[in-house]
Homo-oligomer: 604 residues x 2
């Protein structure tokens, strides 16, 4: 049967053949996650995704959310799906069972999330944010806060959000002005206006727990004066029962380009002076707490983008196999019958690009999950540091680069359908609209690029970047030994050497008085680093596939493995040469972007 | 005052300084179009665009079109704007005054259209199609058809469309099945179902004239058996008065990603056997007639894309100058106040890219108009052939390449606004949605790429391509003599030499048994040819600007000219090196896209 969200076989390939997750089960912590269990989990997730979530995607786009009498109604099918998530315990996949989590390896959870996001990311977004909020409580909460809130959040009885952005404080969080004044009982009275709060208000649950960034009276300006508070929508009594409403008011929801199923709320805190919160973590250390959550949030955004791209690709592939239009370019002559459009060169180009990008992105994201698991099970502090470094380095790639490529895939996904792709008769145009948000929230992609160049490249004196290159080179070494992959290995090696040189040059420039110029090339640097990571993942896949072919894989398996080698060959021969061009741009370090006078942009 | 659709100064620059349109007025045909007249026309167009059309853009997106009782209601403000178009005689700008046209040079009409499309392209689309339909009548109609229809179409009393696509015949027009049976009186009875008909039905006018592609009973299969018919919505009596309805029924309108103001209609012809049409031109030569119109239609699509990009850029520029967020990267230190985001390197990068692309695209499109004018006024047959060749060659660039780059600009236009860009509070997301259609209709961009490689590159044994390179080199020669531009000239020269080589290789491949592989790289070839044309236009602009600076330009003019040189420098240093990488991809001629087995795409 044609796949509709993503290629089941590919998910299994990454889990079992590329990352070999069953090895994780050798560790006591993950002992119960044998291959059989893993396959069962993935199969259940897939069922939920295909049968319940996917059919609700278009409905949610059309219905949208409605603010009525202070509460937000989400699209009708979401209420049922939410209950299924609670029942199936799909909200806190990797967390401590003590608090209601499933204790699952993160790698496995990546595959689960991949299905959920591919089926209905506007819904899944709400779940993620709930989980992220819970994580903050788990990491920074007092025992009392944990006992009152955590299990209810992890099990989905209550949901959670994140109140960060203010009208004048978007990318610049340090500019926020929401204030907190300490009360005699140790709680804080919070006052301020927050915007762009995903699922900030809705009636799928009876209480919503808001972590809120605010400034305690007299705190320093900027990010070093920001504290984190826990602010429930309905106050919670010490025995866990619900008290009075907490003066947290949803004042509006945004009309948006896409993700209509996800309510983006404006929230006023303490409009009547009655909003009470408790400090979460230490005073003035709110930003540090946020940074802890940022990796997970950004990885999730990459997963949302991949979800859109992957579903768009499967639809395009299915359509291209069925839609008959035009004759074959070379076979059959002028009177030959028309052929399915998958036989046309440019359609194949788009499909193979979509295939390679979605496959490579899947591997990047799952690999980051795998690094998380290695940290959790490793007893070697150096190894833990290495994997954390790789995660930190790869996060801007997983968010910024992957979402950029995913959007291109979604755009091609419309193209394959021609005029039909632009209509709402098919989901292609929704994937493109929904996907666009992934360029923006949790730090715009420009901020991801700046993060990669400004923070991550030089992290621990560049050790994570060297570790990444070492990982890449170890795959290249393996590929050089596989018949048929030598040429791919060589091209990847050339690109890796150029990337190393490029990183050295732009890194030095960023630390010099030419920092502005360096940062004007940060985006290109994210692009080429991403291309390199993508090439690595595809080569890694090709190595595994070639080995299986040599070991005698037959039938459908053999075809799948040949498809893996084709993806790697395509990317290596049609993307890496362009990356080399981009690296030339970076190393030349042209400063026109910085030099041009502000008025010379024109338009006045 | 901040510009909202496009930079007025830039429009003037292209018309008067780059293309020197006042020289056209030396020709008797265009004698009345002095600089003063031209400026007046542009100023009037701009007024109409800014005051009437732009305010209706968002309304039209929200209201959309409605099919009620067989007729389509367009967004409310469109009725008034349509009347203003009729009164102001904005519909047939360049056509023969005998039939109600304005006899304007095409170059000038480009600037007019640029404003109209930038302000409200869903509305303007209807006007264009009307004009295109009229053009078919002018070119192929009998005197009787012209007398009955043409003036009413050119003046807007009636409108026109184009009935081409059928559900099973999209990109493959030859597969259409709408039939025509000759009646005793020489008319034809038409029967069939057409889809994706822009403005196929609406009530802004009392009659709509549909050119219809159909197959006469017994005609050959494929494109060589297609004829063109003129089918009015309401029959027209010989005295020009309206008769009975003509059995042309709008059966539905599409729900689309964007251009909600433009009704995309499904139309049933002869459902009751009562649809009567007259042959337009010769039997079985309908496709040839369509091809005549295709250049204009595709050029218009490029203009629509530029309209979106240009407006998105101006908005982004204005926003970036006002939105204060974050500190300057190098100046002022940690406690410095926040700055407008135009001071951040990555925002500047986006803005300069948007600037260069919109400026270069403007020059490409206006230049094609200029070529039209040269054909109209030249007495030298060789010159006419040369300019026609340049037009034919540049059309896939103007449609495919320009719309691709425009979509990227619109995407960056959302990014500059951050989270706000994703909301409907600002027009940025609409420009992105509207722009996407330009990749698809009038031949998908994949078809443009195939057209460039398969038809245009080898046209007249490659003469147009050689002429293009000669034009580019003459600009390079000029640039080499201008102080400060030597380096830009050199880089452009390198790219031109590589493009010539690349064209030779892919052209030969396309004519060999590796045609499938060649066409799998057709898109990249369109990309690099487009980059080259863009680089040429920007260098041309820079030469003009540098000369004016050397001649002592001062104040605002000097700043503008410096901005021109900055655009060229930016493009030359950050895009051309990437083009060289793409050329390497093409010349390497990897065949993975063709070789991969259909099943190996996966998903089954």
């Amino acid at each position: 049967m044609a796949q509709v969200i993503m290629d089941k076989r590919d998910v299994e390939f990454v889990l079992h053949e590329q990352l070999e997750v069953e090895k994780l089960a050798k560790n006591e912590r993950f002992a119960e996650f044998t291959k059989k269990t893993v396959d069962l989990i993935i199969s259940e997730a897939r069922n939920l995704a295909v049968k319940e979530m996917l059919p609700a995607l278009k409905i949610s786009d059309e219905e949208g959310c409605k603010l009525e009498n202070g509460t937000v109604k989400v699209p009708e099918p979401f209420y049922r799906i939410y209950e299924l998530f609670k029942e199936g315990e799909w909200i806190s996949l990797c967390d401590d069972p003590k608090w209601g989590g499933q204790g699952m390896p993160t790698t496995i959870s990546m595959a689960v999330k991949n299905y959920f996001h591919g089926a209905n990311f506007p819904f899944t977004l709400a779940i993620l944010l709930s989980h992220g909020a819970g994580k903050l409580v788990e990491r920074f909460g007092t025992e009392k806060q944990k006992n009152l809130f955590l299990k209810k959040m992890y099990t989905g009885e209550w949901s959670g959000t994140m109140l960060l952005t203010e009208p004048q404080a978007g990318s610049d969080v340090g500019a926020l002005t929401t204030s907190a004044v300490k009360n005699a009982d140790g709680t804080y009275s919070i006052t301020g206006n927050k915007i762009f709060i995903s699922s900030g208000e809705h009636n799928m649950v009876e209480n919503i727990i808001h972590p809120v960034l605010a400034r305690i009276e007299g705190a320093p300006a900027g990010t070093s004066g920001i504290s984190l508070f826990l602010v429930p929508k309905i106050r919670v009594n010490d025995d866990g029962s619900l008290g009075a409403p907490n003066d947290v008011v949803c004042t509006g929801i945004e009309e948006k380009m896409g993700i209509h199923g996800s309510p983006t709320c404006s929230i006023t805190l303490g409009g009547k002076g009655q909003c009470i919160g408790t400090l979460l973590g230490e005073e003035n250390k709110g930003m540090r707490a946020m940074f802890v959550m940022m990796n997970e949030a950004r990885l999730d955004v990459g997963m949302q983008a991949l979800g859109c791209a992957s579903a768009s690709f499967q639809n395009a592939l299915n359509y291209a196999r069925e839609r008959v239009q035009g004759r074959h370019l070379q076979a059959g002559g002028k009177d030959a019958p028309s052929v399915p459009i998958i036989q046309h060169p440019d359609v194949r180009r788009m499909l193979l690009n979509m295939k390679a990008i979605t496959e490579g992105s899947r591997s990047i994201l799952y690999f980051i999950g795998f690094c998380e698991d290695m940290i959790r099970i490793s007893n070697d502090p150096a190894e833990k540091i290495k994997y954390q470094g790789l995660i930190d380095l790869l996060i801007p790639i997983a968010k910024g680069y992957v979402s950029d490529r995913a959007f291109e895939v979604c755009s091609q996904g419309v193209q394959v359908f021609g005029g039909y792709g632009y209509t709402k008769e098919y989901p292609q145009e929704q994937y493109l609209r929904d996907c666009k948000i992934t360029h923006i929230y949790e730090g715009t992609n420009g901020i991801q690029a700046a993060d990669l160049l400004g923070r991550k490249l030089g992290l621990n004196k560049g050790q994570p970047f060297r570790d990444l290159l070492a990982e890449i080179r170890s795959t290249i070494d393996a590929a050089q030994k596989v018949k048929g992959l030598e040429n791919l290995a060589e091209k990847t090696q050339t690109a890796a050497a150029e990337l190393e040189k490029t990183a050295g040059i732009i890194g030095a420039m960023a630390a010099s008085d030419k920092a502005m110029t360096a940062f004007s090339h940060a985006y290109e640097f994210m692009d080429v680093t991403g291309d390199m990571v993508m090439a690595w993942m595809l080569l890694w896949r090709a190595v595994v596939a070639a080995q299986k072919l040599q070991a005698g894989a037959k039938g459908k398996d053999a075809v799948f493995y040949e498809g893996q080698i084709a993806s790697a060959r395509f990317f290596t021969s049609t993307v890496l040469p362009i990356s080399l061009g981009k690296m030339n741009v970076i190393t030349a370090g042209d400063s026109t972007v910085i030099d041009i006078a502000e008025d010379a942009f024109g338009g006045k």
